[in-house]
Symmetry: C2
Subunit: 352 residues, 2 copies
């Protein structure tokens, strides 16, 4: 990204050679994202992040439709739920697809909820709190075969598990750069060739007319490079992350008694994510183990992402307060895992 | 920005110390932008750029209003015009404020166009093609005294002339980071305390509830640092740029006969911008002087920014084709100005 902040600071779109060189660099970045997403480069729209991608897919595709029925899973990210909710005052019937206690959405239930006027179904690829991986291919096929737009918020999976639309068949799919080691402020939306989407912001037509405003050139370069890297190393990364996750869970089970509950343990889950229901309040651990960085539920009104995801799988307030969500990365070491277990054990001992 | 890509990669909003440190860095960046904009830090919303800032100011402030009259100058950026045009199908009367042949909007004419149901007036601080600087203080006072929201797209002025809302009194004001040496993909919107604005995208509430999505932390750090720098050096920069501009114009007049027309020469203009009507087609110069980077009109349907601005001041297609827009920066040297004049002279000689 570095030269695009300084010497290559132009924008594409002018006649001169400098601008054209920037255009070519953006094309190369777009090919990188297309490689990761499993689509053609012209199906990739650069955005400012996952939230904008989800908003564009949902609100942009419904802009040219007068009314209808929308199906959204209860495990979705706030940017999906809130985008759909923004339509609640209009001529839309909005229905939630429930998840089971493992966070799973049942494809047959999705099929049974489809109506003749269903315009959109949104189910995320994986949940960032519970790690639950959905049966996207099955859901996509059922929805797609009924001629309904299937949107998949896939922001959590890239760089963690192999996943692309050539296999998963979504009509639109959101990516977030910083979730796979790209820059913050970068995102992309896969829009299947032929899917009608209108822009949701207004200005100079850029990004195939779907996203106005000066391109964040370094951000696009960054997400493109990160996408190439994630494509290459995801198989190894997944295997490594899964070992770390198993080691972490085994470690916790050894040092904490009563044994902590691993949230959504019985389903296919992200290899880098684990939510643990501890026998003590999670923020006590956070306070006594400052070296350890992890997420806890912060607010139930308005409910934050962690609270909402845990509520969606039936957890009670007392359980939610005791839940800590840990995540690992490509550079996490076994020593860091072991040290994390030690820190949690110390906090547990101190609190007894 | 560098450490915020790597070691300080967290987002604000969690309890742990790392997240809180990021929150403090963002506060510092917000103070930098507030210093430049002449407002309080809590009146600054970080966005992904000038286009989003203009969209948020216009569509976000009108979201809670059922109908009304909107006044927009003919010199505005596409992100202002298109945001307003997106309302054209609804219960809105949209009216254009004309500009004179120098690109100037007459404050008295703005006052005469105000109606009892006017909800918004939008006039840019300065035009990026003609350089024309508007009488923002006079317009803002007239509009504000009638209780109407005055929005100013001020993306062109920062780092070039002293300008802030403590003097200019807009109710909302758009900034674009890369226009004053901040990063691409960064922007900000000043929202006057008390002005009602709703978000135009949906997700986790961030930025005082006005802009959802993970913060582009390095981008915010970058625009904050650039804003501090621009605050400090704008007086010297303006003087230096104005000398360069005068030198460039004198040079062109010496080497081209018939003398080129300086567009909007008779008004107060940006010190770094000059549009010149040459005696030959501007893209011929662009083709023969590849070393020189400048803007030409590219498309009349749809009209690009240069074409629209020149049309708005009454230029004919033949004149627009002969117009070249040059801009200078803080690091532009006298030698570069002289070399530019030489290149244009050579292109002119070759074309005769």
């Amino acid at each position: 990204m570095q030269p695009y902040w300084s010497t290559h600071f132009m924008l594409p779109g002018q006649e001169h050679a400098h601008a054209q060189a920037i255009g070519e660099a953006l094309d190369h970045a777009r090919e990188g994202v297309a490689m990761l997403a499993g689509c053609d480069p012209f199906e990739v729209v650069f955005t400012s992040g996952g939230t904008e991608s989800n908003n564009l897919a949902i609100l942009g595709s419904l802009a040219q439709t007068a009314s209808g029925h929308l199906l959204v899973s209860s495990m979705e990210h706030e940017s999906v739920l809130a985008a759909v909710d923004s339509l609640a005052d209009g001529p839309w019937e909005i229905e939630t697809i429930p998840a089971d206690s493992n966070g799973l959405v049942d494809p047959d239930q999705v099929a049974s909820l489809l109506r003749p006027n269903t315009r959109l179904v949104a189910v995320q690829a994986a949940n960032p709190v519970t790690g639950t991986i959905q049966s996207i291919r099955e859901i996509a096929d059922l929805v797609h075969n009924r001629g309904v737009h299937f949107h998949c918020d896939a922001t959590q999976v890239f760089g963690k598990i192999p996943f692309d639309v050539s296999q998963m068949r979504a009509d639109s799919m959101a990516l977030s750069g910083h979730k796979f080691y790209g820059p913050k402020g970068s995102g992309a939306l896969y829009v299947r060739r032929g899917l009608q989407v209108a822009p949701i912001a207004y200005g100079e037509p850029r990004e195939m007319g779907l996203r106005p405003g000066a391109e964040n050139v370094p951000g696009c370069i960054g997400i493109g490079a990160a996408a190439r890297l994630a494509s290459k190393c995801v198989v190894d990364a997944e295997a490594n992350l899964r070992q770390l996750r198993d080691r972490f869970i085994s470690g916790l089970r050894c040092v904490i008694d009563p044994e902590p509950v691993i949230v959504c343990e019985d389903v296919s889950a992200l290899p880098n994510t684990v939510a643990v229901e501890l026998p003590l309040e999670a923020n006590l651990v956070q306070k006594s183990a400052r070296e350890l960085v992890f997420a806890t539920a912060l607010s139930s009104a308005p409910a934050d992402e962690m609270t909402r995801s845990l509520q969606a799988i039936g957890k009670q307030p007392d359980q939610i307060r005791r839940t800590a969500r840990f995540s690992f990365g490509w550079t996490t070491s076994r020593d860091q895992i072991d040290r994390s277990v030690d820190l949690i054990a110390e906090a547990w001992d101190a609190s007894k």
